[in-house]
């Protein structure tokens, strides 16, 4: 059907296509040359082979910005304290009407927000998991600081680079492939910033191009010619470097726009996150050499009258994640794509005076993909033993990062996180 299903996990196809394009030009783009020379270490090379698990794996990060209310997403309906502290916004027990929580785990007394039905379907299909009570010591309740902590993987928040950026730096010695990390959205996430790598970032594929062609089509030809630089020595010559990057950008733009122009293999609900995930699925299908994609969705800062608003957000998030999974599955890529969903913090346990919730601490994380160990993991934080009205975290987020780095990306998490964390069980081992 498509190239990607005929060559499920081969980067060779892309390299061939890239070479064909490049041979038309006077210069070989940097990343193609390096891939061809084998400078890039294949991802997963440090990992012993697990039967049925592909080696060239992809990580997709989905960020819920604003602080998603974990307690009204994964609902501890079995705890009386939940209803005592959230008298008007608490979600009803499963089976008690249309707007009641969906059943997730009866034994643990845990349900899902009814609007998050997309995730429930994935859970029912055994391709999703929830890690409960994820946080870190001395929680910071500022959106910006807490987001920085998640992005850097460091609660001191002083490091200038991100955990994925450090992974790129480690995994790709020297100058890496410019497309190893792609983020969608208006801001380039700190998480992807490395010492050597700055992620490719664009809001839409149509902006990932030179807009001069809109002024006059006649400009395209002279624009495309960046000149000969074979005589220049790149390591000492800024211009040679810039010419190569210009070439890379032109090729990359063609590739991305061609990929995104494909019809998706599933139906998406629409909305920001949905569009981002649709583009990511298309790029995965086109065998881009990208190993980490980053998507995000805002609006989770629900201080007042949160019920309707929070439901709409979770509906969009859940339905988008489900469509994305279906798209990936139709491509035959469901075993090589892991999606990780997080927010910078959860919200306080007691509701506030405006039927909303204020900035809190620990919250669940969500993982999706065929290689995920399905179900609900970890311990739900106590609602009676609170820290000044806030949940005490039960899993450090760096344990989840460690699992993803060690057991999915095939990296050494110690190099990235500065120390060894006991990995949280997320990925299947058999």
């Amino acid at each position: 059907m498509t190239d990607s299903t005929q060559h499920p996990w081969s980067r060779r196809l892309f390299i061939r296509q890239g070479m064909a394009l490049a041979s038309l030009a006077t210069t070989t783009p940097l990343f193609i040359q390096q891939t061809a020379e084998g400078v890039m270490i294949p991802i997963g090379s440090a990992l012993s082979s697990i039967p049925g698990m592909p080696q060239d794996r992809i990580l997709v990060i989905v960020q819920m910005s604003g602080g998603n209310d974990g307690l009204n997403t994964v609902v501890p309906y079995g705890l009386d304290d939940y209803y005592r502290l959230r008298p008007t916004i608490g979600l009803k027990k499963p089976g008690s009407g249309a707007d009641a929580a969906l059943q997730l785990n009866q034994a643990q007394g845990i349900g899902l927000n009814p609007a998050f039905s997309g995730l429930q379907e994935l859970m029912d299909s055994g391709v999703a998991s929830i890690v409960q009570g994820v946080g870190y010591p001395n929680p910071n309740r500022s959106h910006f600081s807490s987001m920085d902590i998640w992005h850097t993987g460091n609660p001191d928040g002083r490091r200038g680079n991100g955990w994925l950026g450090r992974y790129f730096d480690n995994a790709c010695g020297g100058t890496p492939n410019p497309e190893i990390g792609i983020s969608l959205g208006s801001d380039s996430p700190l998480a992807m910033q490395g010492d050597q790598v700055m992620p490719v970032n664009f809001e839409s594929a149509d902006l990932y191009r030179w807009m001069g062609e809109d002024l006059d089509k006649g400009l395209n030809r002279p624009y495309g010619n960046v000149g000969d630089q074979n005589s220049l020595n790149e390591s000492s010559d800024q211009l040679a470097f810039l010419k190569r990057t210009s070439m890379d950008a032109q090729l990359s733009s063609q590739k991305v726009r061609k990929a995104v122009a494909q019809q998706p293999l599933s139906t998406y609900p629409g909305g920001t996150l949905s569009n981002q995930l649709r583009m990511i699925a298309a790029m995965i299908r086109s065998e881009m050499p990208t190993r980490v994609y980053y998507a995000s969705m805002g609006g989770f800062d629900t201080h007042a009258n949160q019920a309707g608003q929070h439901g709409r957000l979770l509906r969009q998030a859940g339905d988008s994640l489900k469509s994305f999974y279906e798209d990936i599955k139709a491509q035959g890529n469901q075993k090589r794509v892991l999606t990780m969903v997080f927010s910078e913090f959860g919200r306080r346990v007691p509701q506030n005076a405006s039927n909303g919730t204020d900035h809190g601490t620990a919250a669940p994380m969500y993982f999706i993909g065929d290689m995920v160990e399905p179900g609900v993991h970890g311990t739900h934080p106590s609602l009676s033993n609170l820290d000044n009205g806030d949940l005490r975290f039960t899993t450090d987020f760096r344990s989840c990062y460690a699992e993803v780095l060690d057991n999915w990306m095939g990296a050494d998490s110690k190099d990235v996180l500065g120390r060894k964390w006991k990995p949280t069980k997320i990925i299947k081992t058999t």
Binding site: S188, G212, Y223
Partner: protein
């Protein structure tokens, strides 16, 4: 290549040399401004930039007073603190929530003021008649990098910016470093408000040597950091001012660089500047910022020039003006190998574009945002190391953002906006060719493209590309049509060469 700081002759200080000086010591200028500067000759041209106090500022400074509110992030009054502590003790959630909400409201207001501050500085760089002052302020912001996210007080960021601005040609040790250890934003950023004799915090002491003066591992030990941190204990701030908290200061004996005394923060600074690595490290950073940032290690002539700069710097007791004057007057500075040898920072890219092309300023907050997309968010450097600069500015997506931001400046066209109208630009670019008329009209299209190319991208591309550009102009029917000039400028500003200055 000239290896020392020997002077450029008046004869060699031609139009292109003047353009180079104006781009490096400032943000470039229009062809007419470059001609003016060239006519002054090298000495007066450099003085015009460095002795900027002589240039009337157009009332910019008068407008600064009271421009920013210092009260937004004020600390709680004693009374408020009492109320809050009481509420904590009694578990009075309603009161605590009110305090939290109030704080969040103030943080939101402060972030709005930070955005205003960003636009204010950007506009100032675009409009100033004293370009060296703003360019050097930008250098110092990157050198003494302090990030708003940790400081959380826009007024303190503003105050620090003014500290830099008023000392750009001052004494590096006495005016800059001695004041930076007293600067509220820096004290907060590097936690020196938590540095007390009972619980020393080494952050400021470490960065002071590693990043601000000596360079990593160049002439100090971990022991010097520990002892230096003790010298800095009690250096804190209250509201908007430095405060020396004697109760937290450690006034016992310390051994720094092998010298033993009851050193305080100022002594520590003096001891640092007595090390030979101080002048060399700072001059190296100046060299990379103003002369050439293309190689990671400075060798040969570059190294020898830095050594001579360091000698001058030290001999002049760390005064900035004499060393910069020598540098900007040196043949080395104007050497062919140092032209187009720096990758423009995002701020340099946009400010130089507006100032040299005479393009409309358009929407300043949008320009600030573009710079952030290109990796340079003013007042929010990625870490205390500042911006790495050089090739780190460039990848495939920032390159498109750079090119498209230029299209926005030239045409007003924003990403995604339609339909496109060639005449809507409100930018008359024909003034750029004013001086061309005097030059030639043998082959007007060819000469115009060569002239514009040299002015805009600092060089002329390979013959094959040049021909394509000239052909484009001919196909459009000549160089006198404004939309054609603008399209040609869009092409030139998208060229790899344009990223250099």
């Amino acid at each position: 290549m000239p290896t020392g700081l020997s002077r450029i002759s008046t004869k060699d200080f031609d139009y292109w040399a003047a353009l180079h000086l104006l781009q490096r010591a400032g943000f470039g200028g229009t062809p007419s401004q470059v001609f003016e500067l060239k006519k002054k000759g090298p000495e007066d041209a450099v003085d015009h930039l460095l002795e900027f106090e002589q240039v009337e500022d157009g009332g910019v400074n008068a407008k600064v007073e009271g421009r920013f509110d210092n009260d937004i992030m004020r600390s709680l009054t004693a009374d408020e603190r009492r109320q809050r502590n009481q509420a904590r003790k009694n578990g009075n959630e309603a009161v605590l929530e009110r305090f939290r909400n109030e704080r969040q409201k103030r943080q939101r207001a402060d972030r709005r003021q930070l955005a205003e501050l960003q636009s204010w500085w950007m506009a100032r760089m675009i409009e100033t008649r004293r370009p060296f002052q703003e360019k050097m302020t930008l250098f110092l912001h990157g050198h003494f990098a302090t990030g708003y996210r940790a400081v959380e007080d826009s007024y303190h960021m503003f105050k620090q910016n003014e500290l830099f601005r008023s000392n750009v040609t001052g004494n590096f040790r006495d005016d800059l470093v001695r004041n930076i250890i007293r600067d509220p934003a820096m004290i907060k950023y590097l936690n020196n408000n938590q540095n007390s004799r009972r619980a020393p915090n080494e952050n400021l002491a470490r960065e002071l040597m590693e990043l601000f003066t000596l360079g990593e591992g160049r002439g100090y030990t971990e022991q010097d950091i520990k002892q230096g941190a003790r010298a800095l204990t009690g250096y804190t701030y209250r509201d908007d001012e430095f405060q020396f908290n004697a109760g937290n200061h450690d006034d016992e004996m310390k051994v720094i660089f092998g010298k033993r005394d009851k050193w305080d923060g100022d002594d520590f600074v003096d001891l640092i500047f007595a090390r030979s690595s101080a002048s060399e490290f700072i001059c190296e950073k100046l060299y990379r910022f103003y002369v050439n940032d293309s190689s990671s290690t400075l060798e040969g002539p570059a190294r020898s020039v830095v050594r001579q700069m360091a000698k001058t710097f030290k001999a002049d007791n760390f005064e900035l003006k004499p060393v910069l004057r020598k540098l900007f007057l040196s043949r080395h500075f104007y050497d062919e190998s140092n032209r187009s040898a720096i990758i423009k920072s995002p701020v340099q890219l946009v400010v130089q574009a507006i100032r040299s092309l005479g393009a409309p300023v358009r929407d300043v907050p949008r320009i600030v945002q573009s710079c952030s997309l290109m990796g340079q968010d003013l007042f929010k450097p990625p870490s205390v190391k500042g911006w790495d600069g050089g090739r780190k500015w460039i990848n495939t997506s920032t390159l498109f953002t750079r090119q498209n931001t230029l299209i926005y400046l030239l045409t007003g066209r924003m990403p995604g906006s339609k339909p496109w109208d060639n005449n809507s630009s409100e930018f008359d670019a024909r003034h750029l060719l004013e001086h061309l008329r005097e030059l030639t009209d043998r082959d007007r299209e060819h000469d115009a493209v060569v002239y514009l190319s040299r002015f805009v991208i600092g060089t002329v591309p390979e013959e094959k590309r040049l021909v394509e550009w000239v052909d484009y102009v001919r196909e459009r029917g000549g160089i006198d049509d404004n939309p054609t000039i603008i399209n040609l400028l869009a092409l030139m500003t998208a060229a790899p060469e344009y990223q250099l200055c």
